[in-house]
Amino acid sequence: MLMEYLKVFLTGGIICSIAQVLIDKTKITPARILVLFVSLGVVFTGLGLYQHIVDFGKSGATVPISGFGYSLATGVKEAIDEKGFIGIFTGGVTATSAGIAAAVIFGFLGALIAKPKAK
């Protein structure tokens, strides 16, 4: 149990550290980091590499935004296996639907209740 959490911590920590090094060394903006990592998540899942990271680090690999790319790619693959061609279009968003909907709903509610801070 403790070993599992250690693996989660290490995996998540390393992924975030890579992003931090990129931010500090290349002045790449956080918004681009998010786009880069979600795309890399899809690419590494497609190459069959990200699954190993998920097997090792569990939430440490799925909680970072690269895990969102992993969900998109595995969703597409499973949907193609099941339904064929149309799976290319249905798989990704179906697999990530809860995350996207939660982001819209809680994002909207959060913005509604918050007071804009005076600048």
């Binding site: 920590g13 956080p30 998010l34 497609g46 970072p64 064929g84 990704g92 994002g107």
Partner: protein, 153 residues
């Protein structure tokens, strides 16, 4: 002694600041990003494990855990707490899914004054929009490649 900052000349002070900001930040930033990012991932795993312990199937537990972290990110952002965390954690607060949530709520709050539709509504996806565009498009390319490979076999 470098406590005597008030008597320094401009050049000396510049040297002092450069020296201070040169060695410490990157290592410190990376360690903080590692720590905070790792902890957020552990929170996700704890929620998942608790739900699995209550006989909820693994897939649902993982989905619920994601929804919870998105809620947490939005909640902390709307009370202006996530940006405080971000000041120290850097990428450790950007890369986890809570940062994705933060990237939706923060611009929505900022542009709220410009109205609920074209202010709040259209700026919610200012950063999250590109993430979805490139994420979904990459998964489309992967899907096409995977589909062609399965056809050939």
């Amino acid at each position: 002694m470098d406590t005597n900052k008030f008597n320094m000349t401009k050049e000396e002070y510049k040297e002092y600041v450069d020296k201070k900001s040169e060695n410490s930040p990157i290592l410190k930033n990376v360690l903080l990003a590692f720590l905070v990012g790792g902890i957020i991932c552990i929170i996700g795993q704890v929620v998942t494990n608790c739900l699995i312990a209550k006989n909820i199937d693994e897939k649902t537990a993982k989905t619920f855990s994601t929804v919870f972290l998105i809620f947490l990110g939005a909640f902390l952002t709307s009370f202006n707490l996530y940006s405080k965390l971000g000041k120290y954690a850097g990428a450790g607060s950007v890369v986890p899914i809570t940062g994705f949530s933060n990237s939706i709520v923060a611009p929505a709050i900022e542009y709220k004054a410009e109205g609920y539709i074209l202010g709040l509504g259209s700026n919610m996806f200012k950063i999250a929009g590109p993430v979805l565009v490139y994420g979904i498009f990459c998964s489309f390319i992967y899907g096409v490649i995977y589909y062609v490979i399965t056809m050939i076999r």
